[in-house]
Amino acid sequence: MTRTGTRPAPSAQVVTPPPARPRPVGMAGPAGRGRRGRMPYLLLAPALLVLLAALGYPLFRQAVMSFQEYGLAQQFGKPPEWVGIDNYEALLTDPYLWTVVARSVVFCLAVVAATMVIGVMLAVLMTLSPKAPRLVLQIGLLVAWAMPHLASLTVWQWLFDSQYGATGWQRFRLITVPLLKPVLLIVGLLQIIWDLKVFTQIFVLQDAGGITRDTNLIGTYIYRLGIGEGQFGLAAAASWR
């Protein structure tokens, strides 16, 4: 849909080049300002409420917990003890944490690079193939539970489905990439975040007989600390770092 953003408006704007990136068009103009002052907040309110209730509040509890001794005894009703920064101290002085962090960063960079390259390649492939194979590709993608990528790939595919005259590499480089830039940037950024949190795959593969200590990334490390060893305080501290 970014396509529409770069088209000149139907007004007399033909000479000026369209903005490279869709940028928020404010309800600029002094007239709207006062009356609409509350409007954006009203629009934001539902999303904000849900986020605060389901993520913000647990996050707050998590933060509190990271300064407490919160183990198995506390699970059964013993009031948690305040231990100050002990949890953080224990974590930060443990050289294993830094191994895990370094491994996570390397893993993340490799995976982000690979997913971005392959993702773009696949999106191109999907636009080039005729309808039947494309359908097979799509259904295959879906059934493979390619969850986060799916949304972005779908968008890309729709974006690619344009009717421009140019073809080939030129079209890709000159039109597709600039148009996709905002999407690519967001997806890239989110990809980094998601990959840093990768959990399920590693966890399941570890169960298949890997050496846990050598393959823990941040996500699984937190889980093993919290659930595996009952050290919720420590785990909370690790997730804050």
Binding site: P24, M27, P40, D161
Partner: protein, 259 residues
């Protein structure tokens, strides 16, 4: 490339028709020659429909709530300038960095306190919150991509602000809404970990949890049953996707700006 994706899918469908001894045999069976529907019968007899109902409700609630909330938020973020806009965007991004594994302990305790454990509302709430950050960012891009001039043109032509929004802007946003919908749908439909934490009563399983019962009920794993169950879980996803996909193409063609 298509083969790499399609083959496991074919294999899944194929296996779902095979009798038990054929699946475990070392000789691969490529076609369900002497297969049958017995696996599907077992699946239907073991509580599939109950889980289907729970999963369908949760998915519906999640998709609807996530779309509406994210859309309103995206509207605020891209059409208005207001205090706290930047920090909200940043906060939404940062939220995604929180490892879910660390958070679900407190999420569990929170839902426990609100008596929302084992409830559709409780799990949906967590799902909506999970998909909101991404959908807000995604939709924000889409809303910003629709030039305000289009709306203004509609205003000049005599539409009210509401009309211009529903007739001009909304159809152009359809692809973005569909992408967000697909994302929310898949999250709610397939999610496993949170469901495992929140839905801890046997009668309350979502489909992914229910699928697990085929491997753990003190007997030999029923692979044909798992495959049949997977096929049944995948089918609604494919149907949903195909519907949305067609809608979207139509939405694009009927939009005000033709490419």
């Amino acid at each position: 490339m298509a083969l790499i994706w399609a083959f496991p899918v074919y294999w899944m469908i194929n296996s779902s028709f095979l009798p038990h001894n054929r699946i475990r045999s070392t000789e691969p069976t490529f076609f369900p020659v002497d297969g049958g529907l017995s696996a599907y019968e077992r699946v239907f007899d073991s509580g599939f429909f109950q889980s289907l109902r729970i999963s369908a409700t949760i998915t519906l609630v999640t998709v609807a709530a996530a779309l509406i909330f994210a859309f309103l938020a995206a509207l605020a973020l891209s059409r208005f300038r207001f205090r706290g806009r930047k920090s909200f965007l940043l906060a939404v991004l940062i939220i995604q960095m929180i490892p879910a594994e660390g958070l679900f302990i407190s999420q569990f305790k929170m839902l426990e306190g609100w008596h929302l454990l084992n409830s559709v509302i409780g799990l949906s709430l967590l799902y909506v919150a999970t998909v909101l950050p991404f959908t807000i960012w995604l939709l924000r891009g889409f809303v910003a991509g629709v030039p305000i001039e289009l709306e203004e043109a509609a205003l000049v032509d005599g539409c009210t602000r509401t009309q211009s929004f529903f007739r001009v802007t909304l159809p152009l946003l359809a692809p973005g809404l569909a992408a967000s919908g697909v994302y929310a749908f898949l999250q709610a439909w397939n999610e496993f970990t949170l469901a495992l934490v929140v839905m801890n009563r046997p009668g309350n399983m979502t489909l992914p949890l229910w699928l697990r019962t085929f491997t753990e009920s003190n007997r030999v794993s029923d692979w044909a049953g798992i495959m049949a169950g997977s096929v049944l879980i995948a089918v609604p996803v494919i149907i949903f996707f195909l519907i949305v996909q067609r809608r979207m193409t139509a939405g694009l063609v009927s939009g005000a700006v033709k490419g």
